[in-house]
């Protein structure tokens, strides 16, 4: 293989580079236009406030919402915390039960666990083996005292798209608040909040070529959804979220979402073609398993288990590619992915998984290089693996009795 200076970035679900157009839009608000948007007594504040409101319109437009329904936060983690804790606390007199999915992001799961500690009850549903939620099982999990449901739009590890429209309809008919973590969905799937029965939706800028440290929460106005504020002071953001607004970051998010709205149709087809090319390239190899449904999936994601190759050693073996074995937040640990475990994958396959996530700056040459590299290195690693040797000798590894150490 030829050696390249910079690894090829195939980890767009961990974070994305800020689009140069976004960076260009942000810089003036870091330098000459640095006023505090809350300083309403002078022009420095006014122009910042106007920029913030323009960005709010752009974020709303991408998801077909009203700008008044968008609340700025520091990112999807804060949005998820605010939505779930805020709704549970506000509607606690109606009931104490919440429903979510085992494959949600930690920001949702850890928030749910926190609510359990203060007296709420949470049902964590298993997805099907393709990663999707079964609607009949979902319906069966609802109780008369269910107040909040939280299901992510697009899974961060396997890229599957949940049936948000159907779940929303069920929730609306049952009078249940429906929260959707859409951090991985913006710019990848069409989101129409006029049509979807979603009450709360979390967004992040840095997954869609915007800056880190800024996100938003959609809070439906018709019918009106109420939340208990989690941060107080200053009364910014309809009293739901206080704190000085980071103008440059907000402007960046607005510009990133504008670009996403205008370019996603064309961009996603190009990325789909690249993803399919990557898939075709590695499917020629033996013992390769795609994790998660391929049809109901964003074009950007390919999550594959290479049986008989340990994921971390594989990542070390393909340093020329920047990929991850799970979500960024947990990739520093050696635990197998809880998402793949929830799909029913055994430890070995969960351990041997690689998440490839493609994006705006991925090229065909990148993909061809990745395919050739993977083929060579995986063969090398398997050649060193006694398990692979046993498998090739026709031994059923499930019948082997391992000696305890």
């Amino acid at each position: 293989m030829d050696s390249r200076k910079k690894p090829i970035y195939l980890d767009y679900s961990a974070t994305t580079p800020v689009d140069p157009r976004v960076a260009a839009a942000m810089i003036p608000w870091l330098t000459e236009h640095f006023g505090n948007p809350a300083s309403r007594s002078h022009g420095f504040g006014w122009e910042a406030e106007e920029a913030v409101e323009n960005a709010r319109v752009e974020v709303a437009k991408l998801v077909n919402a009203d700008a008044k329904e968008i609340i700025w936060t520091s990112g999807a983690t804060e949005s998820n915390n605010l939505a779930i804790k805020g709704a549970a606390q506000f509607y606690k007199t109606k009931g104490k039960h919440l429903v979510t999915l085992k494959t949600e992001h930690k920001a949702v799961l850890d928030t749910m666990r926190e609510l359990e500690r203060v007296g709420f009850e949470v049902t964590y549903l298993d997805p099907e083996s393709n990663g999707l939620l079964d609607l009949a099982k979902f319906k069966a999990a609802l109780r008369p005292d269910t107040i909040v449901v939280s299901v992510m739009f697009v899974n961060n590890e396997i890229g599957v798209i949940q049936p948000i429209a159907e779940i929303g309809e069920i929730c609306r008919n049952a009078g249940i608040i429906f929260h959707v973590d859409a951090a991985q969905a913006t710019g990848k799937v069409i989101i129409d909040l006029e049509k979807l029965n979603v009450d709360l939706m979390s967004f992040s800028a840095h997954k869609t070529y915007g800056p880190k440290g800024i996100g938003a929460l959609y809070v439906r106005r018709k019918p009106r959804v109420r939340l208990e504020a989690q941060t107080h002071g200053g009364g910014h953001e309809r009293g739901l979220r206080s704190g000085t607004l980071a103008t440059h970051q907000i402007v960046g998010m607005g510009e990133a979402f504008r670009i996403a709205r205008e370019e996603m149709a064309v961009e996603n087809e190009r990325i789909r073609m690249l993803r399919d090319r990557l898939l075709a390239g590695i499917q020629g190899m033996e013992e390769v398993y795609v994790n998660g449904d391929l049809e109901h999936r964003v074009p950007h994601n390919l999550n594959v288990s290479f049986n008989f190759v340990e994921g971390e050693s594989l990542i070390m073996g393909i340093k020329e590619l920047a990929v991850s074995s799970g979500s960024a937040c947990t990739s520093a640990s050696l635990e197998p992915s809880y998402v793949l475990r929830a799909l029913g994958r055994n430890d070995e396959l969960a351990h041997s998984s690689i998440r490839f996530t493609l994006g705006r700056f991925t090229t065909e040459a990148d993909i061809d290089y990745a395919i050739a590299l993977l083929k060579e290195r995986i063969q090398k690693l398997r050649d060193m693996s006694p398990l692979w040797e046993m498998y090739k000798d026709g031994i059923d590894l499930n019948t082997v009795q391992w000696a305890a150490h």
């Binding site: 640095f34 007594s41 920001a107 002071g233 991850s324 947990t330």
Partner: protein, 376 residues
């Protein structure tokens, strides 16, 4: 444009901007991935923690947990009490920023006894009054290090010693948003009894959207934002690498800046004001203040009108806390100090930066003179 509203926000320096931008498009990687050491995405946080340690003389870089800013830090400290299991008394000063006062008052519905302790006519917490509230059932005392409006510096050392003597188990939090980067702060001399301190980068020429909480070694509070386990589990959310890179430079630059020079400029400004208008009220002038802040009232002049008129002349000043400037009401701080309504509504706040010049001050004085003449 002459910008004299630096307690509301400051302009990022060119080095800060440069550092921030580098992590937008070039080193854009996620600091939580196992490759962060290779990509360099781990550097901004390390740099920021080291720079903050130096700026406020903390024990360890590990003492700093980074957040989206001081509002989050303040809310985090106050709301964490709900989960610690022991109800008790919470004491805050009557001049706290809304991001301390509001979450404190919210604790009442969770069963806490929340007390606002008063300030004297100079805007300094009254130690005799505070002493009475420091009973054994106190769980938290929160007093800001320096007031955002008057600049009055609070007796943090004295309050800390009082807390340790009267209610040693209580946490001592200070909202140091206006102090950090503008005056000398030493967590190992003077501030030795402070357990928790909030700060924000955009108040000392860093970017908006990044700040943090200092936690004294051995002090723990329950996390507020849950999820990916960033910041060692203390604060989840993807690490804001551009913000931290900017904060690091801002903290370094502040540490090597000359706070006294700003104070001399402010004192000169006030001497001229007094010479021109003997009837002027300079709030908190009798006590130690932030060297950059001058909050004064010219009787008969509405502060908001003056600020608007100055803005029309290209001079940006404040009238009180930026967050409540949408409503025309007298500053809460001045009310707490017992300042008469007509004086309080005349309040005008000048907050300098280390980049402010004598020429800017002279222009302000000339313009104020012309305005007072025409508006009076």
């Amino acid at each position: 444009m002459i910008y004299l509203d630096n307690n509301a926000t400051t302009r990022s320096t060119s080095k800060v901007v440069e550092a921030t931008v580098a992590y937008l498009t070039d080193c854009y990687f996620n600091a939580s991935t196992s490759s962060a050491g290779v990509t360099g995405a781990d550097r901004p946080r390390l740099h920021a923690a080291a720079a903050m340690k130096k700026l406020v003389n903390a024990e360890e870089p590990d003492c700093f947990i980074f957040t989206s800013g001081a509002t989050e830090s303040n809310n985090w400290v106050l709301t964490s009490l709900r989960r610690c299991g022991n109800l008790g008394k919470v004491v805050v000063s009557s001049i706290e920023h809304a991001s301390v006062l509001e979450p404190a008052l919210d604790l009442r519905q969770w069963g806490f006894d929340v007390v606002e302790t008063p300030v004297d006519s100079n805007g300094v917490v009254r130690i005799d009054q505070l002493q009475q509230h420091l009973t054994h059932d106190c769980v938290l005392v929160s007093v800001m290090a320096a007031n955002n409006e008057t600049g009055a510096v609070q007796p943090i050392r004295e309050i800390g010693e009082l807390i340790r003597a009267s209610c040693p188990r209580a946490l001592f939090h200070t909202d140091a948003t206006q102090a950090v980067g503008k005056m000398s702060v030493d967590l190992r001399a003077g501030w030795t009894e402070v357990d928790l301190a909030s700060f924000s980068a955009h108040k000392f020429h860093g970017p908006k959207g990044i700040g943090g909480l200092y936690m004294r070694p051995g002090i723990e509070i329950h996390p507020m934002l849950l999820g990916g386990g960033q910041e060692d589990g203390w604060r989840s959310g993807t690490t804001n690498t551009p913000g931290l890179a900017g904060l690091a430079i801002a903290a370094e630059e502040a540490a090597s800046s000359n706070y006294d020079a700003v104070g001399r400029l402010r004192d000169l400004f006030e001497a001229r004001l007094k010479a021109t208008w003997p009837d002027i009220h300079i709030h908190s002038q009798g006590v130690t203040r932030l060297p950059n802040t001058s909050f004064f009232s010219l009787p008969g002049m509405a502060g908001v009108e003056m600020a608007d008129a100055l803005a029309a002349e290209g001079i940006i000043v404040g009238t009180g806390a930026a967050c409540s400037a949408g409503a025309i009401r007298p500053s809460r701080t001045l009310q707490s100090m017992g300042v008469a309504h007509e004086i309080a509504t005349a309040g005008l706040r000048i907050s300098l930066s280390r980049f402010s010049t004598l020429q800017e001050i002279e222009k302000l004085i000339d313009t104020l003179g012309a305005l007072r003449h025409s508006l009076h």
